[in-house]
Symmetry: C2
Subunit: 321 residues, 2 copies
C-alpha cells in the first residue's frame, strides 16, 4: 500500500498494539493514555497504527473508543490510521470515522471463523462484497484502503493443520470479492519459516506479489522474528507488531503474543532496512504503556537488554551523513 509515507522506507512496521494488544486485556486502557501512546509512536516515526476495531462493544468494551481514536490519529502528521472490522456494520462505522485503512479478518479455518464471528467462509465473502460496495461509495479522495487478513493462515488451535490450498483459494476469493489486498496472519503461532516462505510464494504465484505485501505474526512459540525474516526474504514489506509484545487472539486459546515492535525494528534497522523509526525514541514509549497497564507483562528483549554499544551514535552519524 502506497500513499501516505512522508519518508522513504523499505519496510512498514504496522503497530497493532492498540487493537490486537489491548483486545486480549481485561483492564480498559483510558482514552487519554491510548492517545498519548499513539501520538508518541507516530512521533517516533511509526507510519501505520491500527488504533482499534469497530466490533461489538459489549463483547470488547476495550474498543468502545475506536471512533474517537481514529478522529484523533487522523490529525497526526504522516500517520496511516488503520482499523479492524469484523463485518459490514463495522466498515460503515470505520468509513464514517475516516479511517485510512480497513482490515477484515477472515479465518482460513472455518471452525475458527464460526467460533470467532459465527460466520462461514461464504458468509464472510458476502461481507467482503458488501464492504467493497460501501468503500466504493466513498469519494475517491478520501476512500479507505480495504484489505482482508487471512487469519489462522498457518494452522488453527481448533482444526490443527490448515492446508495451503485453503489459504490460496481463500486469497483468490477474497480478492475477487473486492478486497484490494490480502494479508496472512499467524493467529495461533503455528507458523515456521519454511511454511511462511511456502505459503507466501504460493499466494504470490496465484494472485501476484502486489496483492500480498503484509503479514501478521505472533511469537507464541518464539519463532516470530525468524518468521518475519522468512517473510522479508519473500518480499513482504509490511509487518504487524505490538509494542511490548502486548496481546494475542482472545478467541484462540493459548495463542498469545504479537511480535514485539521494538525487537522487530531493531532487527530491521540492524539489517539495513529503513523503517523510518527512531528506535531510541520508540523504546521510551514503553513507559506510557507500562504506566497505563501496571499489571500487564510488557515483553521485549531489546527493551530489557538495551541497544548494543555504539548503536545510537552510529545511527545518528548515518542519518546526518
Amino acid at each position: 500500500m502506497k500513499g501516505l509515507d512522508p519518508v522513504e522506507i523499505d519496510v512498514c512496521v504496522s503497530e497493532v498494539g492498540p487493537r490486537d494488544g489491548l483486545q486480549s486485556i481485561d483492564r480498559i486502557l483510558d482514552l487519554e493514555t491510548k492517545k498519548r501512546w499513539i501520538e508518541a509512536e507516530a512521533a517516533a516515526g511509526v507510519s501505520e497504527i491500527e488504533v482499534g476495531s469497530f466490533v461489538s462493544y459489549k463483547r470488547l468494551p476495550q474498543m468502545a473508543d475506536t471512533a474517537q481514536l481514529v478522529a484523533f490519529a487522523r490529525n497526526l502528521p504522516g500517520l496511516r490510521v488503520a482499523v479492524l472490522v469484523p463485518n459490514a456494520r463495522g466498515a460503515t462505522a470505520a468509513i464514517a470515522a475516516g479511517a485510512h485503512k480497513i482490515s477484515i479478518p477472515v479465518s482460513a479455518s472455518e471452525t475458527h471463523s464460526l467460533n470467532n464471528v459465527n460466520r462461514t467462509h461464504a458468509q464472510m465473502l458476502d461481507e467482503v462484497r458488501h464492504i467493497r460496495g460501501l468503500v466504493n461509495a466513498v469519494e475517491e479522495r478520501t476512500r479507505p484502503y480495504f484489505e482482508a487478513g487471512i487469519a489462522t493462515a498457518f494452522g488453527c488451535t481448533m482444526e490443527g493443520q490448515v492446508p495451503e490450498e485453503t489459504v490460496v483459494r481463500l486469497a483468490e476469493e477474497l480478492l475477487a470479492a473486492g478486497a484490494e489486498e490480502v494479508g496472512l496472519s499467524d493467529t495461533t503461532g503455528y507458523a515456521d519459516p519454511k511454511m511462511i516462505r511456502d505459503r507466501i510464494r504460493a499466494v504470490h504465484r496465484a494472485v501476484g506479489h502486489d496483492k500480498l505485501t503484509g503479514v501478521h505474526l505472533h511469537n507464541t512459540r518464539g519463532l516470530g522474528l525468524a518468521n518475519a525474516l522468512a517473510a522479508l526474504d519473500e518480499g513482504i514489506t509490511t509487518l504487524d507488531a505490538s509494542l511490548g509484545g502486548l496481546g494475542g487472539c482472545p478467541f484462540a486459546p493459548g495463542a498469545s503474543g504479537n511480535i514485539v515492535t521494538e525487537d522487530l525494528v531493531f532487527m530491521l534497522e540492524a539489517m539495513g532496512y529503513r523503517t523510518g523509526i527512531d528506535l531510541d525514541r520508540l523504546l521510551t514509549v514503553r513507559d506510557i504503556v507500562k504506566r497505563g497497564l501496571p499489571d500487564e507483562p510488557i515483553y521485549g528483549f531489546v527493551g530489557d537488554a538495551g541497544l548494543p554499544l555504539g548503536w545510537s551514535e552510529t545511527r545518528r552519524a548515518d542519518n546526518t551523513a
Copy 2:
C-alpha cells in the same frame, strides 16, 4: 564434524546448558542432577552435549565436576561429549578425561579476551598451537576433535563493533595454528541476520565451508532464532543451544541467554530438518532442570505454549512411515 551419529540428521543441535547455562548461575547444581539432565537429553536424541569446562574451579566452582561428567557421558550411547577449555592446561585435563570434542573460545575483541582470560590474540594462538600438539600426541583412535570458537564475533559489550576483517583473519590464524574448525559465537547478542549471513560467507570464502559448520547464538535481543535461520541458510549444520535458555556469558555484562534448545528443535523439525530429537521427550527434561534450580528462570516459548495441535501425532506418523 562426523563420526558418532547413530541416526542420520541434517542439523546437530549441540546442548551447551550444562556448560554455558550453568556457568552464569551462582547456585551449584549437584553432580547427580547434572547426570540425570545429560542422560535424559541424550535419551531424547540430543547427539552432542557440552558437559562442562576445564577452567579454574576457584573461579567457576560450578564446573569442578567436569571430569566426572565426561566419564559418565562417554558411556551414553551415540553421544558426542564436548567440553570447553580456556587454555592448554584445560586441554590436558580434557584429553585425560576422554572428551570427544574440545573447544577453546578465542575472543575476536582483544579487550574482551584480556578481560575474560587475560590473554592477547597472539597468546591465544600460542595456546592453540600448544593444544594441537597435545591432541596430536593422543593415539588416533581416541583423539578428540579440536575446535576454536571465535567469541564476540558479532560485536562486543566493551569494544562495540568488531570488524568483519578481524573475524576472518582470526579464523585463518586459528586454523593455521592447529584448530580443525572454527565456530562463530554471538557472545553478546549483537548479531543480526544480515551480519550472520555476511560473516559466515566471508569466513567460508576465506577458509572453506568445511572449516566453519557451527555457530553459537544468544537470544539477548530476541533475534536468536532469526539468526539461526540465517545461519542455516548459509549451510551451517551445528547450532548450540541451552535447555530452558539457561545462561549466558558471565564476563560480558548484560549479555545473557543462549537460544532455547526446545524452541530451536521446534523450528528445525517444523521446517523439515531432521535433528534426531524427540521434542515431546526433550520438553520433559525441563522438569529435571527446574527441580534442580528452583530459583532460576527457565525460558522457552514452546515449553510455555505447548506444541501445535496434532504435532506429536504427525511426527509419529512420519517416523513410522
